[in-house]
Amino acid sequence: MKGMTIIVKKTTQLIAGMVFLYGIYVIIHGHLTPGGGFAGGVILAGSFILLILSFGSDFIRLTKEEAGSTLYENLAILVVIVLAVSGLLFGTRIFFLNWLPKGTVGELVSAGILPLYNIFVGIEVAASILTIFLALVIFKEESSQ
Protein backbone atom coordinates (compact mmCIF):
# COMPACT_ATOMS: atom_id res chain seq x y z
CA MET A 1 0.00 0.00 0.00
CA LYS A 2 1.46 3.38 -1.05
CA GLY A 3 1.23 6.58 0.93
CA MET A 4 -0.88 9.59 -0.07
CA THR A 5 0.12 13.15 -1.05
CA ILE A 6 1.98 15.57 1.22
CA ILE A 7 -1.22 17.52 2.01
CA VAL A 8 -2.84 14.41 3.45
CA LYS A 9 0.35 13.51 5.32
CA LYS A 10 0.68 16.94 6.97
CA THR A 11 -3.02 17.04 7.93
CA THR A 12 -2.77 13.56 9.39
CA GLN A 13 0.27 14.57 11.44
CA LEU A 14 -1.73 17.43 12.93
CA ILE A 15 -4.92 15.49 13.56
CA ALA A 16 -3.82 11.98 14.62
CA GLY A 17 -2.52 13.11 18.01
CA MET A 18 -5.76 14.91 18.79
CA VAL A 19 -7.81 11.87 17.81
CA PHE A 20 -5.63 9.77 20.12
CA LEU A 21 -6.11 12.24 23.00
CA TYR A 22 -9.86 12.30 22.43
CA GLY A 23 -9.96 8.51 22.63
CA ILE A 24 -8.09 8.61 25.94
CA TYR A 25 -10.54 11.27 27.21
CA VAL A 26 -13.56 9.15 26.25
CA ILE A 27 -12.07 6.10 27.99
CA ILE A 28 -11.03 7.86 31.22
CA HIS A 29 -14.34 9.75 31.56
CA GLY A 30 -16.35 6.63 30.74
CA HIS A 31 -17.99 6.52 34.18
CA LEU A 32 -18.95 10.22 34.07
CA THR A 33 -20.00 11.07 30.50
CA PRO A 34 -21.37 9.01 27.59
CA GLY A 35 -18.79 6.78 26.03
CA GLY A 36 -16.54 4.26 27.70
CA GLY A 37 -14.17 1.45 26.92
CA PHE A 38 -15.65 0.28 23.64
CA ALA A 39 -16.18 3.68 22.00
CA GLY A 40 -12.86 5.10 23.18
CA GLY A 41 -10.98 1.99 22.12
CA VAL A 42 -12.32 2.22 18.58
CA ILE A 43 -11.33 5.93 18.45
CA LEU A 44 -7.79 5.00 19.55
CA ALA A 45 -7.60 2.36 16.82
CA GLY A 46 -8.93 4.96 14.37
CA SER A 47 -5.95 7.27 14.96
CA PHE A 48 -3.51 4.45 14.15
CA ILE A 49 -5.52 3.43 11.05
CA LEU A 50 -5.45 7.08 9.89
CA LEU A 51 -1.64 7.12 10.15
CA ILE A 52 -1.20 3.80 8.33
CA LEU A 53 -3.60 4.75 5.52
CA SER A 54 -1.99 8.13 4.86
CA PHE A 55 1.69 7.22 5.23
CA GLY A 56 1.55 3.84 3.50
CA SER A 57 2.80 0.56 4.77
CA ASP A 58 6.57 1.10 4.41
CA PHE A 59 6.50 3.89 7.01
CA ILE A 60 5.69 1.52 9.87
CA ARG A 61 7.17 -1.97 10.24
CA LEU A 62 3.84 -3.75 9.93
CA THR A 63 4.74 -7.22 11.25
CA LYS A 64 6.47 -5.74 14.30
CA GLU A 65 3.46 -3.51 14.95
CA GLU A 66 1.12 -6.48 14.62
CA ALA A 67 3.11 -8.53 17.12
CA GLY A 68 2.94 -5.64 19.59
CA SER A 69 -0.79 -5.06 19.21
CA THR A 70 -1.54 -8.78 19.64
CA LEU A 71 0.52 -8.79 22.83
CA TYR A 72 -1.30 -5.74 24.24
CA GLU A 73 -4.69 -7.20 23.34
CA ASN A 74 -4.06 -10.50 25.12
CA LEU A 75 -2.52 -8.80 28.17
CA ALA A 76 -5.49 -6.41 28.47
CA ILE A 77 -8.11 -9.15 28.39
CA LEU A 78 -6.01 -11.07 30.95
CA VAL A 79 -5.99 -8.03 33.26
CA VAL A 80 -9.78 -7.70 32.90
CA ILE A 81 -10.22 -11.31 33.97
CA VAL A 82 -7.78 -10.84 36.88
CA LEU A 83 -9.74 -7.77 38.02
CA ALA A 84 -12.97 -9.77 37.82
CA VAL A 85 -11.44 -12.63 39.83
CA SER A 86 -10.12 -10.17 42.42
CA GLY A 87 -13.74 -9.72 43.50
CA LEU A 88 -13.59 -13.32 44.71
CA LEU A 89 -10.72 -12.50 47.10
CA PHE A 90 -12.14 -9.41 48.86
CA GLY A 91 -15.43 -8.63 50.59
CA THR A 92 -18.43 -10.83 49.87
CA ARG A 93 -16.67 -13.08 47.34
CA ILE A 94 -18.64 -12.41 44.15
CA PHE A 95 -17.30 -12.48 40.60
CA PHE A 96 -17.16 -8.89 39.22
CA LEU A 97 -17.50 -7.37 42.72
CA ASN A 98 -16.88 -3.61 42.94
CA TRP A 99 -14.69 -3.79 46.06
CA LEU A 100 -12.69 -0.56 45.83
CA PRO A 101 -14.03 2.51 47.74
CA LYS A 102 -16.68 4.33 45.71
CA GLY A 103 -15.72 7.96 46.43
CA THR A 104 -18.07 10.86 45.67
CA VAL A 105 -20.27 10.55 42.59
CA GLY A 106 -19.15 12.78 39.73
CA GLU A 107 -15.42 13.04 40.47
CA LEU A 108 -12.78 11.65 38.11
CA VAL A 109 -11.45 9.15 40.66
CA SER A 110 -14.65 7.50 41.81
CA ALA A 111 -16.90 4.51 41.13
CA GLY A 112 -14.39 2.04 42.57
CA ILE A 113 -13.16 -0.51 40.05
CA LEU A 114 -15.24 0.63 37.05
CA PRO A 115 -12.62 3.07 35.57
CA LEU A 116 -10.04 0.26 35.63
CA TYR A 117 -12.40 -2.00 33.67
CA ASN A 118 -12.99 0.88 31.23
CA ILE A 119 -9.27 1.47 30.68
CA PHE A 120 -8.35 -2.16 30.10
CA VAL A 121 -11.38 -2.92 27.91
CA GLY A 122 -10.44 0.20 25.93
CA ILE A 123 -6.88 -1.06 25.38
CA GLU A 124 -8.24 -4.47 24.41
CA VAL A 125 -10.73 -3.11 21.85
CA ALA A 126 -8.15 -0.71 20.34
CA ALA A 127 -5.54 -3.46 19.97
CA SER A 128 -8.09 -5.92 18.54
CA ILE A 129 -9.34 -3.61 15.79
CA LEU A 130 -5.81 -2.46 14.95
CA THR A 131 -4.70 -6.11 14.73
CA ILE A 132 -7.54 -7.00 12.35
CA PHE A 133 -6.69 -4.01 10.13
CA LEU A 134 -2.97 -4.83 10.15
CA ALA A 135 -3.68 -8.48 9.35
CA LEU A 136 -5.72 -7.41 6.30
CA VAL A 137 -2.96 -5.02 5.10
CA ILE A 138 -0.20 -7.62 5.62
CA PHE A 139 -2.28 -10.23 3.78
CA LYS A 140 -2.58 -7.90 0.80
CA GLU A 141 1.13 -7.04 0.81
CA GLU A 142 2.19 -10.67 0.99
CA SER A 143 -0.26 -11.86 -1.67
CA SER A 144 0.80 -9.13 -4.13
CA GLN A 145 4.48 -10.09 -3.93
Partner: protein
Protein backbone atom coordinates in the same frame (compact mmCIF):
# COMPACT_ATOMS: atom_id res chain seq x y z
CA UNK B 1 -40.49 12.15 17.26
CA UNK B 2 -42.13 8.94 16.04
CA UNK B 3 -42.63 10.57 12.62
CA UNK B 4 -38.94 11.51 12.41
CA UNK B 5 -37.89 7.99 13.37
CA UNK B 6 -40.29 6.55 10.80
CA UNK B 7 -38.84 8.79 8.06
CA UNK B 8 -35.25 7.85 8.98
CA UNK B 9 -36.13 4.15 9.13
CA UNK B 10 -37.69 4.46 5.67
CA UNK B 11 -34.47 6.07 4.39
CA UNK B 12 -32.47 3.23 5.93
CA UNK B 13 -34.67 0.66 4.16
CA UNK B 14 -34.18 2.50 0.85
CA UNK B 15 -30.41 2.56 1.42
CA UNK B 16 -30.34 -1.16 2.20
CA UNK B 17 -32.41 -1.98 -0.91
CA UNK B 18 -30.11 0.16 -3.06
CA UNK B 19 -27.05 -1.56 -1.55
CA UNK B 20 -28.42 -4.91 -2.72
CA UNK B 21 -29.23 -3.78 -6.26
CA UNK B 22 -26.31 -1.44 -7.03
CA UNK B 23 -24.08 -2.59 -9.90
CA UNK B 24 -21.05 -0.67 -8.62
CA UNK B 25 -19.70 -2.10 -5.37
CA UNK B 26 -18.43 1.29 -4.14
CA UNK B 27 -21.91 2.84 -4.27
CA UNK B 28 -23.24 -0.27 -2.50
CA UNK B 29 -20.75 0.32 0.33
CA UNK B 30 -21.73 4.00 0.57
CA UNK B 31 -25.40 2.98 0.66
CA UNK B 32 -24.55 0.68 3.59
CA UNK B 33 -23.26 3.82 5.28
CA UNK B 34 -26.76 5.34 5.03
CA UNK B 35 -28.07 2.47 7.16
CA UNK B 36 -25.39 2.94 9.83
CA UNK B 37 -25.60 6.72 10.10
CA UNK B 38 -29.41 6.64 10.03
CA UNK B 39 -29.22 4.32 13.02
CA UNK B 40 -26.98 6.89 14.76
CA UNK B 41 -29.64 9.60 14.33
CA UNK B 42 -32.31 7.19 15.61
CA UNK B 43 -30.21 6.49 18.74
CA UNK B 44 -29.74 10.24 19.32
CA UNK B 45 -33.48 10.88 18.98
CA UNK B 46 -34.17 8.05 21.45
CA UNK B 47 -31.72 9.67 23.95
CA UNK B 48 -29.05 6.98 23.87
CA UNK B 49 -25.76 8.87 23.35
CA UNK B 50 -23.60 5.93 24.48
CA UNK B 51 -24.93 3.70 21.74
CA UNK B 52 -24.75 6.56 19.22
CA UNK B 53 -21.04 7.15 19.91
CA UNK B 54 -20.18 3.45 19.56
CA UNK B 55 -22.30 3.13 16.41
CA UNK B 56 -20.85 6.18 14.65
CA UNK B 57 -17.23 5.24 15.39
CA UNK B 58 -17.57 1.56 14.49
CA UNK B 59 -19.53 2.42 11.35
CA UNK B 60 -16.86 4.88 10.18
CA UNK B 61 -14.01 2.40 10.73
CA UNK B 62 -15.93 -0.40 8.99
CA UNK B 63 -16.75 1.89 6.07
CA UNK B 64 -13.08 2.89 5.69
CA UNK B 65 -11.95 -0.75 5.64
CA UNK B 66 -14.71 -1.74 3.20
CA UNK B 67 -13.93 1.18 0.85
CA UNK B 68 -10.23 0.24 0.94
CA UNK B 69 -11.12 -3.36 0.04
CA UNK B 70 -13.55 -2.37 -2.73
CA UNK B 71 -11.14 0.12 -4.34
CA UNK B 72 -8.61 -2.69 -4.54
CA UNK B 73 -10.96 -5.22 -6.18
CA UNK B 74 -12.76 -5.22 -9.52
CA UNK B 75 -15.73 -3.10 -8.26
CA UNK B 76 -18.12 -4.84 -10.65
CA UNK B 77 -20.61 -7.27 -9.19
CA UNK B 78 -21.40 -10.26 -11.42
CA UNK B 79 -25.11 -10.32 -12.17
CA UNK B 80 -27.11 -13.19 -13.63
CA UNK B 81 -30.80 -13.55 -14.47
CA UNK B 82 -32.77 -15.76 -12.06
CA UNK B 83 -33.69 -19.21 -13.37
CA UNK B 84 -36.49 -21.55 -12.22
CA UNK B 85 -34.85 -22.23 -8.88
CA UNK B 86 -34.43 -18.50 -8.34
CA UNK B 87 -38.15 -17.88 -8.83
CA UNK B 88 -38.97 -20.64 -6.31
CA UNK B 89 -36.65 -18.94 -3.81
CA UNK B 90 -38.29 -15.55 -4.40
CA UNK B 91 -41.77 -17.02 -3.88
CA UNK B 92 -40.65 -18.77 -0.68
CA UNK B 93 -39.12 -15.59 0.73
CA UNK B 94 -42.25 -13.54 -0.03
CA UNK B 95 -44.38 -16.19 1.70
CA UNK B 96 -42.03 -16.09 4.71
CA UNK B 97 -42.23 -12.30 4.88
CA UNK B 98 -46.06 -12.40 4.88
CA UNK B 99 -46.13 -15.05 7.64
CA UNK B 100 -43.57 -13.15 9.73
CA UNK B 101 -45.50 -9.87 9.40
CA UNK B 102 -48.73 -11.61 10.45
CA UNK B 103 -47.21 -13.00 13.66
CA UNK B 104 -45.32 -9.74 14.27
CA UNK B 105 -48.63 -7.86 14.18
CA UNK B 106 -50.21 -10.31 16.64
CA UNK B 107 -47.19 -9.98 18.97
CA UNK B 108 -47.06 -6.17 18.93
CA UNK B 109 -50.73 -5.90 19.94
CA UNK B 110 -50.00 -7.51 23.32
CA UNK B 111 -46.96 -5.27 24.04
CA UNK B 112 -46.89 -1.89 25.74
CA UNK B 113 -46.71 1.25 23.60
CA UNK B 114 -43.28 2.05 22.17
CA UNK B 115 -41.01 3.51 24.88
CA UNK B 116 -43.70 3.78 27.57
CA UNK B 117 -43.53 1.12 30.28
CA UNK B 118 -40.06 0.06 31.37
CA UNK B 119 -39.25 -3.59 31.73
CA UNK B 120 -39.55 -5.38 35.08
CA UNK B 121 -35.78 -5.60 35.63
CA UNK B 122 -35.05 -2.01 34.56
CA UNK B 123 -36.79 -0.40 37.55
CA UNK B 124 -34.34 -1.54 40.28
CA UNK B 125 -31.40 -0.75 37.98
CA UNK B 126 -32.53 2.86 37.45
CA UNK B 127 -33.46 3.51 41.08
CA UNK B 128 -30.40 2.49 43.08
CA UNK B 129 -27.64 2.28 40.48
CA UNK B 130 -25.87 5.54 41.30
CA UNK B 131 -25.53 4.68 45.01
CA UNK B 132 -24.65 1.04 44.38
CA UNK B 133 -21.97 1.59 41.75
CA UNK B 134 -20.85 5.18 42.42
CA UNK B 135 -20.84 5.84 38.67
CA UNK B 136 -22.45 9.02 37.32
CA UNK B 137 -22.95 7.39 33.91
CA UNK B 138 -25.69 4.81 34.48
CA UNK B 139 -24.83 2.85 31.33
CA UNK B 140 -21.27 2.16 32.48
CA UNK B 141 -22.59 1.17 35.89
CA UNK B 142 -24.91 -1.40 34.33
CA UNK B 143 -22.43 -2.62 31.71
CA UNK B 144 -19.46 -3.17 34.01
CA UNK B 145 -21.12 -3.85 37.36
CA UNK B 146 -24.56 -5.44 37.10
CA UNK B 147 -23.92 -7.06 33.73
CA UNK B 148 -20.21 -7.76 34.02
CA UNK B 149 -20.53 -11.21 32.50
CA UNK B 150 -22.01 -9.74 29.31
CA UNK B 151 -19.10 -7.33 28.91
CA UNK B 152 -16.57 -10.09 29.53
CA UNK B 153 -18.33 -12.13 26.85
CA UNK B 154 -18.18 -9.26 24.35
CA UNK B 155 -14.47 -8.70 24.98
CA UNK B 156 -13.83 -12.43 24.58
CA UNK B 157 -15.74 -12.42 21.28
CA UNK B 158 -13.38 -9.69 20.00
CA UNK B 159 -10.32 -11.70 21.05
CA UNK B 160 -11.72 -14.79 19.33
CA UNK B 161 -12.41 -12.78 16.16
CA UNK B 162 -8.80 -11.55 16.11
CA UNK B 163 -7.52 -15.10 16.59
CA UNK B 164 -9.69 -16.27 13.68
CA UNK B 165 -8.51 -13.45 11.40
CA UNK B 166 -4.85 -14.08 12.27
CA UNK B 167 -5.27 -17.79 11.61
CA UNK B 168 -7.00 -17.43 8.24
CA UNK B 169 -5.05 -14.48 6.78
CA UNK B 170 -1.58 -15.97 7.14
CA UNK B 171 0.39 -16.81 4.03
CA UNK B 172 3.89 -17.16 5.42
CA UNK B 173 4.32 -19.06 8.65
CA UNK B 174 5.71 -17.34 11.70
CA UNK B 175 9.27 -18.24 12.67
Amino acid sequence: MEIAISIITGLMIVGALYAIHARDLLSAVIACGIVGYGLVICFLLLKAPDLAIVQIVVDTITLIIMVAVVLDSSREEPFSKPDAQGYISIATSILLIVVLFYFFKIATESLDAFGSGSLRMAGPYIEGATEKTGSANLVTGVVFDFRGYDTLGEATVLVTAVLGVLTILRIKGKK
